[in-house]
Every structure is written in C-alpha cells, then in structure tokens.
C-alpha cells in the first residue's frame, strides 16, 4: 500500500514519508468505503472497461498518477507516457462475465438508478 506513495514522494525526503505514516491513522467509516466500493458485475458503471462496457470491473489493483518523474524524452510527451503506474502489474483482468449483455450505457439520463 505504501509502495506507490514511496515512489511518488521519493524525491522529497523524510518529511513526505512522515505524511504517509500519518495517512495510516485516519478513520474511514463504512459509509465512505461504500461510496468508494468498486463496481460489482451488476452495478450500472459507466466506466466498465471491456467490449461495450459489459466486462466485469478491471479491479486489478491500484494506480497512481505520477508527479515529477516524467520521461521528457518520450515520443508522445512525458506526462502522456509515464504518468500512470500500476502497482499490481501482474494482476489479471477477469474475463467478461456476460459478453452478450446490451450495449447501451449503464446510465445515461442523469437521474440515476440501475438499468
């Protein structure tokens, strides 16, 4: 868990590492964890990766947006190529559970509600 932060803050020294330790002490209630729960297979996620949005969630680990570690020599631009790093590169995306599902978006009317 601390791995990405360590990478993220490495250039900035001990004070930042202390901030990581601090983060371990905050209280996160269940209601907030529910708000941040990943999409379950039946959830109406509009961000579900896969064919037509029907694949199960790509809950393969975590990512962090990098800070001052961009590769300026990259062809497409430093931030573009180097800004996202997964800390679980060996994790696999589960196969689609239902590739025959409808291709309509999970939600499109702005009013909410499961399809």
């Amino acid at each position: 868990m601390a791995a990405p932060m360590t990478r993220h803050l490495r250039p900035f020294g001990a004070a930042c590492a202390l901030a990581v330790l601090l983060a371990a002490c905050v209280d996160v209630p269940d209601s907030v964890r529910a708000a941040f729960a990943p999409a379950a297979p039946g959830d109406p996620s509009n961000y579900r990766i896969g064919p037509h949005g029907t694949a199960p969630p790509a809950d393969v680990g975590t990512a962090i947006i990098a800070s001052a570690t961009f590769d300026a020599s990259s062809e497409a631009g430093p931030a573009v190529d180097a800004a996202v790093e997964s800390i679980a590169p060996d994790a696999a995306v589960e196969p689609a559970a239902d590739t025959d599902a409808a291709v309509t978006p999970a939600s499109a009317d702005g009013e909410g509600g499961a399809p």
């Binding site: 993220h8 900035f12 905050v26 996160v28 975590t62 001052a68 190529d81």
Partner: protein
Amino acid sequence: MRASSWGLCATLFVASLAPSVVGCGSHSLPPMNVVGVDKSKASSKTINYLGGVPLRSGQLLVTESPDSTSFVFVFIPEKFYPFTHVAVISIEDGEPWVYDVTGEVKTFPLKKRLMDNVKGKMYRRRFYEYVAPNLHAEVYEPPEGADGEKLAAFVRQKYAEGVEFDSYFDPNDHSKLFCSELVSLAIAHAGGKPPGLDPSNPNPSVVEGMRWLGVPPGIALPAGKFIDEKRFVGAFGQFRTRTQAWAYFEAKRELFRRFTRDQRLGYMLILQSSGQVEVRPEIGDFVFGAARLFKGEEGLPPPGDPRIEAEVRKLADKMFGPFPASAGPSSPAQSTAAAPAQSATP
C-alpha cells in the same frame, strides 16, 4: 446545513506535492515546457518570461495537480471545471513570484478525521519552482476591472499577515482562506468582479465523501472558474502541446459527463485503508490516452475545438462502452462551461 465551499486546492491529501517541494529540501524539478503564449498581451507592464511569455503583477495562475487528488476535486462541483488550484503572480525586482494559500498534512498530534490533520498558510514561491511540479499551468489576465497591481498587493499583504489555510473551506469566514477564496477577495479588492459560487455535486457518493471530510455539501468555488480564454496569456507544463493538455481535460470532462447520479466515486477511484485515494488503472489509461490522441505540433485543433471532444468521446466509447452524446449529469450548456473559446490557439 452550514454553507461551505470547496476551493479545490490541490494539496489536501497526503499525496500533495507543492508543499513538499517547499518543505523537503533538496530535489530536482522536472522540465517545464512552454506550450502556449499570447504575445499580444505584452505591454510596458509585462516582463518577458522564458523567451516571451508576458507576465505582470495580478495575473492569475491556474494549475493542474499531477497526482490523484485532481481526480477527486473534479467531481466536487455540480459542473465540470478544469484545474485544481489558483494563485496570483507578483513581479518583484523583475522576477515573477507566485502567492497562494494551501494546506498540507500536519505531523503531530495525529487526528482521526483527515481534515483535522491538514493545516497550511500562504506561500511565496518563484514562478518556476511553483509551476514545474504541476502537470499543467496556465496564466490569465485578471478579470475586467481588476487592477493588477492592487490585486498583487492584496495577496502580498495577506502573506505578510500570515493568513492561515482554511481546511474546512468556509467562504464566509475570511479569518482563514482557501485558494480560490483568496483570489476572489483579491479580485474584489482590486475593483473586479470575482466569479460566484457553484453548487456542489449532489451525487450521493460525493456527498458522503464531503461529509466524511467534515465539509458539508453545499457550494463550491473551483479554480477553473477563474479562466477565460479571452484573457489567456501563456501555458506551461509537462505536455508537449496545449492541445494535449486540453485533450487531457476533455477526458476528465467525459468522466464527469458519465458520472450520473447512480454512479459512485469507487467506479473510478480507490480508497485505501489509509485514507489515500488513488485512480483506477483504466481511468488513468483513459485520460492520458486521450492526450496521446494528439501527437506532433502542427495542425492540432486548438483548445475548445469540437474535434478534441469528438476524438475523446470516441476513445471513451471504445474503452468504457457507448454513452449518448446528449446525456450527462448537467445540461449541455453547463457541461461546456469550462471549455475555452474556439478562437484561441495553443
């Protein structure tokens, strides 16, 4: 319910970067590209910075944080706005300085509530030192009617007074300030009309998150409210072109558009047991993949060009499934509020 406001300052969580730059001693700053300039803004009051960007006192500097916090802030207001932080430029002895107010995580004593561990103050930093750690930054002239010298004098005065950061974002109590509150007050002091407050996002997961932080859902004052393409001066950052930067913003706007009332933050973000928020891999892939759609430096569509929106939506449909063009959490007029005018070129 107490009215409160999110200033969307980019440094609230432990992943904050800018205060760390100040506080942590030796480090090397990343290279910073100049990716846009409007030299017509040059005058007898401006200095030529980095080969021709006309900077002067009172200009506003908006920045986009490179870390995951920027993906939290974008969902706080009811409408989409780019950028996560706003500050003011002051030219002193021919050098550009940046004044802002921002929070950082305290050391001890440790508090259970996240925001109780955040405190901050006003900072004065050299322009390059301030801008370089960010993903993208843009400079804008102060709003019409605001005197730049008075605007800069106001923030210098607040810096001298040692104003503290308001970690609970109360826009009605000016004894402590958050970033956009400071800039709003400075604009008003200088004779201009600051932007008004926005409603915060009624999405239930956003409301729950704000409640957890101790900031009652209510109103927001996003940094992006201070931009206007007609007042654009210059752009800096990690992208190769301003078009790439605005393709990145367009991707975040697409994420916002898809964030209908039944969606929750967890579909895009991961909340670690530590309280740290991270971006799901596919979301990061999407936003930076969007920037990657526009390579090269010639013939690129300028910010606000509908081709950027079209290409980014095409990518989103490919990655996440189709989503109707007319759908979204806000009306079409609202959803385009933050897009710059098409007359501008990067």
